[in-house]
Each structure stands twice: as C-alpha cells, then as structure tokens.
C-alpha cells in the first residue's frame, strides 16, 4: 500500500519535470534532462559551493586544534536550520491540507501509511536542503582530516541522522502551526506573522553566522571546553563525525525513538486536524447593507480575498510588501552613508549608486509575483468567471491590478524614503519614482502573461501553483533577469549616455513592453483564459 501511495506522491512531485501541463503531453527526454540539470546546477553549484567555502574555512582551524567534533556540530547545526525552517509550512500544507486527504482516509489505508507517504515529500525537501550543507561538510573533512572506513560509515550515518532530525523538527513545527491555525480566527495573518518571524530569525542567524563562526574558531579551545562541560550531548553528537561508534549507536537509537514518537503524535491528531472545518459555528451571519460594486471591483475584491486568505500565497508571492517598506526605513537610517560608500567604491561616481538604488527597488518589487499563480489558483472553480457575463480580459486585469496595487504602494513609500536621502536633480528624482512604478506595472503584466502561458488547473494542494509551478519560477527569476538587463549595461555604456537619458530609455522600454503585454492579455491571453 505504501508503495502505491509513494508512487502517487512522487508522480505529483516530479510531474512538472516529465509532463508539460500546457500542451497536455509528456516532455521529451531532452527537455526533462535540461530541467533536471538546471535544478542540479542551482543546488550543487550555487548552494553547495557556498557551503563548501564555509566548510573549508571552518574545517582547517578546528581539525588542526583536534576539535573535529565541533566542526561537525557547527555544520550539522546549519544543515538542520536550513532544512527544518525551510519546510515548516510545506509540512503543514503537505500533511494537512491536500485535497485528497478525505479520499485517502475513506479508503482502507492506515493513517500511519498516509502520513508516511506524505512525509516522504517533507523528507526529500529537508534532505535536499540539509544535503547541500552536509555533503560538502563530509567531503571537505575527508580531504582535510583523511578518511577511514569507520569514519566514512559513521559520517554517512551522521548525514542520515541529520536528515531525520530535520524531518522530526519540520513535523513538530508543522504540527504546531496546524494546531495554532485550528484555534485562531484570523489565522492567515497570524500564520504569516509566525512565518515571517521564523524567516527573520533565520536570516538574522544566517548573517550573524559568519561572525559567530569566526569567533568560535578563534576561541575553539575555550568554547569546546564549555560545550563539553555544559552540553555533553552536543559533544557526543559531533563525535559521530569523527567516527566514534558509541556516539553513533547512541544517536541512531535516540533518533529512531524520536522519529517513532513523532509519528505517533502526528497519527493521533492527524484525522482531527486534516478533516477539521475549524471555524464552523464561530461567526454568526448578520444581515447588513452592502454597497454594490462594479464587475471589475468585484473581481479585484475577490483576488484580494484569495490573497489574504492564504498564508502560503502571502508568504511565497508577497514578500515585497514587507521588504520594500523595510528597505525604505533602512534607507532613511543608513541611506546617506550607503550612497556615499557605494559612490566612493565606484571611484566617486554617484550615478552608479543611484542606478543601484533604482535596481534594488526594482529587485525587491519582483518579490511580489502574485499575478503569476493567480490563473492556476482558479483551479476547478474556473467555470465561475467563464460562465459569468464578464470579459476574460477583465478577469486578467483584476489579477494584474492586485499585484500593481500591492507593489506600487510599498514601492512608493520606499521611493519617497530614498529621495529624502538622495541628493539629485529633479529629473533624476522623477525618474527614480517613475521607472520602478513602470517596472511594477510591467512585472504584474508579465506575471499574468506567464500565468496564462503556464497554467496548472488540476492540483491537490495550493503549494503546487504557488511554489512549484513554472509560472512562478519564471516570474521570479525572469524578474531578476529584467533587473539585471536594466542595471548591467550601465556599467559598460553609462559613462557615454549619462544617468538621466539611461533611465528615460529604460522607462520607455518597460512602458512599450507593458503596452505589448497588455495588448496580448487583451487579445490572445483573454482567448486562452476562456478556453482553460
């Protein structure tokens, strides 16, 4: 039974690599291979490379001081943080929110089997993220400290233990999120706040890690002795990496017990949480007069309702709403110093600093890509806009408008903050305001365009259109590409053209591109939507 469920789960996870949802046909082998290579490049070269560099920096010092165990504690800690916090909300939605939960629960399948098959997703994701830390960690250690058979076996077990710890933490955190969301009324916003707290904490640790690691390596003997005295378990954990069979046995057993306990806890509350309709009976309907809206107004309100009702949607596709004001406040506090420092770094060229400021504003605006998945989010209810007397282009305009509104307001705030600290001509200030706004409109139109070109109308969990769809990936990375396309040429030809004309040219380019996309959405896009 488990095999059947795992097969179904895997088919769903890797479906997009083998199956083109747009053409409704299987991808060619070459196409699938290219997709896998791109993914492998991102994971192995980009992420793996970063952690190899960190491992090299730490391993030399600690192994020289005969404190290899501390090296493993540090690197395993990073792997656990990266793996666990990244998948908390995947665990919640992957375990408790899939649409086929009811169907599977009605079948003669044990709850534990369903959970295990669901957890495989979480395990794979966690293993992937912890793997990009742990594999370089082990390889670097084997190269620097040497590798014996006992060492290699214990290290592989350490890797497995780390992946299981990641799974356990993800499960427990996901379970807590599920429990909280059952109790709360405005759970979407609370869940988003918790998630942002986690993400904020994660990045705080990420940015401080370098300093802490340096400090730790510099005073390895002192810290090492302290850990041994006050947290012997950590020392023992690190000893696994050095090939200690006793430590390996103790942690293997302990991890297995913890995993069993986690599965026990999850399976006890699973049915209740997975089948719960939390807010039934809480809100009483009271008739009140409503103001009639236009069709466009109704569609726009609907888009906002969908966005604010889903923590996954807000977190995955609306981070720019938070990051842009944060940038604005940051600029107010540190902007003058940074602009001066960047200008100095480029040989006193203040225009480079201004261009980078503009690019950063645009870059953060690409963190809002809610238009891209909004077509796929219609899912099975797409019959509603299709059967109502509204033009498909109006539906697409509402989707685009939501992104424009949710991005333009925070970007305007950030622009105002930037202009307070940036000494420039009126024309430059006007363009610094205009270009990011035009780019915002362009990004939203591009998102709708990609959403229509790569729709996924059949899904069992909203994570698929929100996170794993081609539309969102293209919208996000495409957005970064468009920013690079704008910023990079200036370093080559900026001196010849000058900042103001350069900004004018790009404002015109993005305006024309927006007009073209708008025309496409009004014609071919509308037609495509009506045929979904």
């Amino acid at each position: 039974m488990l095999k059947v469920l795992l097969k179904k789960q895997m088919a769903e996870v890797f479906r997009s690599y083998f199956y083109n949802r747009k053409t409704n046909k299987a991808r060619s082998k070459a196409n699938s291979i290219v997709l896998f290579i791109l993914f492998a490049f991102l994971m192995i070269v980009v992420l793996g490379g970063t952690f190899t560099a960190i491992a090299l920096g730490v391993c030399f010092g600690l192994t020289a001081a005969s404190m290899g165990w501390l090296y493993f504690v540090l690197m395993s800690g990073m792997a656990i943080v990266l793996g666990a916090f990244g998948s908390v909300f995947n665990t919640y939605s992957g375990l408790y929110l899939p649409k086929d939960n009811d169907l599977l629960l009605s079948m003669p399948i044990s709850v534990r089997t369903i959970i295990i098959s669901r957890l495989l997703n979480v395990y794979l994701l966690g293993t992937m993220y912890s793997g990009v830390v742990m594999l370089p960690t082990l390889i670097v250690y084997w190269i620097i400290a040497g590798a014996t058979v006992a060492n290699i076996i214990c290290d592989i077990i350490l890797f497995l233990i780390v992946t299981v710890i990641v799974l356990i933490l993800s499960c427990l955190l996901g379970w807590v999120v599920a429990k909280i969301s059952l109790k709360l009324k405005n759970k979407s916003f609370i869940v988003v706040l918790i998630a942002l707290g986690c993400i904020g904490g994660y990045y705080f640790v990420y940015f401080k890690a370098q300093v802490w690691i340096r400090e730790l390596v510099a005073n390895a003997a002192v810290y090492g002795a302290n850990i041994k005295d006050s947290a012997y378990g950590l020392y023992l954990f690190g000893r696994i990496g050095e090939g200690d069979p006793l430590a390996t046995a103790i942690f293997t057993v302990a991890t297995a017990i913890l995993l069993a306990l986690t599965l026990f806890v999850l399976s006890r509350g699973f049915v209740k949480i997975a089948t719960s309709t939390a807010s039934v009976g809480k809100t009483q309907y009271r008739e009140k007069k409503v103001k009639a809206k236009s069709a466009f107004g109704a569609l726009l309100t609907k888009e906002f309702a969908r966005f604010t009702s889903s923590p996954n949607y807000m977190l995955n596709n609306g981070l720019g709403i938070l990051l842009l004001p944060v940038l604005g406040i940051f600029l107010l506090i540190k902007g003058t110093d940074i602009m001066t420092a960047v200008g100095t770094a480029f040989g006193g060229r203040a225009d480079f600093a201004a261009l980078l400021l503009c690019a950063v504003l645009m870059l953060l605006s690409t963190m809002n890509d809610m238009a891209a998945p909004s077509v796929s989010l219609e899912g099975k209810s797409v019959w509603i806009p299709q059967s109502l007397p509204i033009e498909p282009q109006t539906v697409l305009k509402a989707k685009t408008a939501m992104q424009v509104i949710l991005t333009a307001i925070p970007i305007l705030f950030a622009v105002v903050c930037a202009e307070i600290v940036w000494q420039a001509t009126v024309a430059e200030k006007l363009l610094l305001c205009l270009l990011p706004l035009v780019f915002t409109v362009f990004s939203a139109l591009f998102g709708s365009f990609i959403g229509i070109r790569h729709p996924i109308m059949e899904w069992t969990t909203e994570i698929i259109p929100l996170k794993q769809s081609g539309a969102v990936t293209i919208a996000l990375f495409g957005g970064w590409g468009f920013v690079a396309l704008f910023a990079v040429p200036y370093f080559l030809i900026g001196q010849l053209i000058g900042l103001t004309p350069y900004l004018i040219v790009w404002t015109v380019i993005y305006t024309v591109a927006s007009a073209l996309l708008y025309h496409w959405l009004n014609t071919k896009g509308a037609k495509a939507f009506s045929r979904l």
Partner: protein, 235 residues
C-alpha cells in the same frame, strides 16, 4: 429562449456531441437525460459559453453565444454538476460577488438572499467560509446564486445531487415558479422520476446523438420514462 442547432463537439477523434438540435421555449422545464458520458455536460457547458464547439449554433433569446457571449451570459444562470465555488470566500461574500457581476442592486439582492437562504435554511451559515460547507450546502449556495439576477434561462447539471429532501422540494418549486413567470430551465438528471414529474419536455441523448425528444407524453407514450429510457439504451 434556447435554440441549439446541429451542435457538434469533438474531443480528439471522439464526437462527444453529434449534430444535436433542441429548442427550449419560454415557460418550459426541459429535462436532458442520458447515461454517463453521453454528452450531457458537454452540451450544457457549450450552452453557457464555457466550452467552445466545432460545429453548429447556440442561440439564447435569438443571440448567438459565440458572437455575443456577454449578452447571452447576462440572460443565463449556470449550476455545474460539482459546485466548486470559491472556498476562500464566505457564503454571503460569494453571493455578493455574483450579484456585483450581474449588477443586482443592493436592496434587491438583500431581499432575494433573505428569501432563498431562509428557504434553504442556509442563513445562519452565510458568514462561514465556503470551505467549511458540505456538498449539499455548496449546492444550495450555487442554487441561490443562480436565482439572484432573475435569469431568463437557468442551465443546471444534476442539480438535485447532494440536496436534502426539503431542499430538493424547494428547488422543484422554484423551478416551476421560474417557468411560470416566463423563464426557461434546461437541466440534466439521472433521476428519471423527477424528470417525469417535473419536466414539460425531455430529450434523451446517447453517445452524443439525440435519440428522442418532445413533450413528456410524446416521449413516454403509455410507458414510464424509465422503461422508455432503458429500451432506448439497449437498442
């Protein structure tokens, strides 16, 4: 009210609907019956403008659904076989959304919502999210939303599935009342007893082809509708 002329719709090499012609007049409740996969849903979706078709013409109040889709859709209400409504909205928000799209005035919608939600005993649940509704409650919400803008033609795909006996009774009353006021209803069903008692006319479709249609008396003769249907199915 609704004229379907030589409708043909093909999926790949398979003809889902083959040269189908029907005429539904004002005041008529028109039943559409056939086995699973006979082409009922495809026909209904084509009528309401969700599905494009290969050949033929569909006219609603003499307007082509292809040439004037918006004008036609303003005259129609559609209830699909599976009421996949917006889960993220509350019942009342969904009803207001549909009212806004059809331009139903504030007072008018309030009155209708009150009337129909009370009839279906859904009033106290209107503030709840649609995601917490049972299948039957969603079906009731879909029915209420269909009646909000006083459509001329109501197209329904298996409307009685999931409804409790009282709600089913209410729906039948509403259907009759709607047609008595000059509207028309075109609906598919597998419940032949309901079709027999409720419909003025009936059409039987088999493998995409219309095999019999007319008034209930013309179609069934001295037999029951069930007997006629089964005989036609085995032919």
């Amino acid at each position: 009210m609704l004229r379907i002329k030589n409708l043909t719709k093909t999926y790949g090499n398979k003809k889902a609907v083959d040269d189908l012609s029907l005429h539904i007049q004002r005041g008529e409740i028109y039943g559409f019956i056939g086995h699973n996969g006979a082409g009922k849903t495809t026909t209904l979706k084509s009528v309401v403008g969700i599905l494009d078709f290969d050949e033929g013409e569909i006219l609603i109040d003499s307007k082509s659904i292809r040439k004037s889709p918006l004008e036609c859709k303003r005259l129609i209400a559609y209830i699909p076989d599976n009421p996949d409504l917006y889960d993220f909205m509350s019942g009342i928000k969904y009803l207001n959304f549909v009212s806004d799209i059809f331009g139903v005035a504030s007072d008018e919608r309030q009155e209708k919502i009150r009337k129909y939600a009370d009839a279906f005993e859904l009033t106290k649940d209107l503030a709840q999210p649609v995601s917490s509704y049972s299948h039957g409650m969603k079906q009731k919400l879909a029915v209420i939303s269909a009646w909000l803008h006083s459509p001329k033609l109501i197209v329904m795909d298996e409307p009685f599935v999931g409804l409790d006996p009282k709600a089913a009774f209410n729906l039948k009353e509403m259907m009759r009342e709607h047609c008595d006021k000059g509207g028309a209803i075109f609906f598919s069903t597998h419940v032949l007893e309901v079709a027999e008692k409720l419909c003025d006319k009936v059409a039987i479709i088999k493998q995409g082809k219309l095999i019999k249609s007319g008034t209930m008396e013309e179609v069934r003769g001295d037999e029951s509708l069930e007997e006629v249907f089964l005989e036609l199915e085995t032919e």
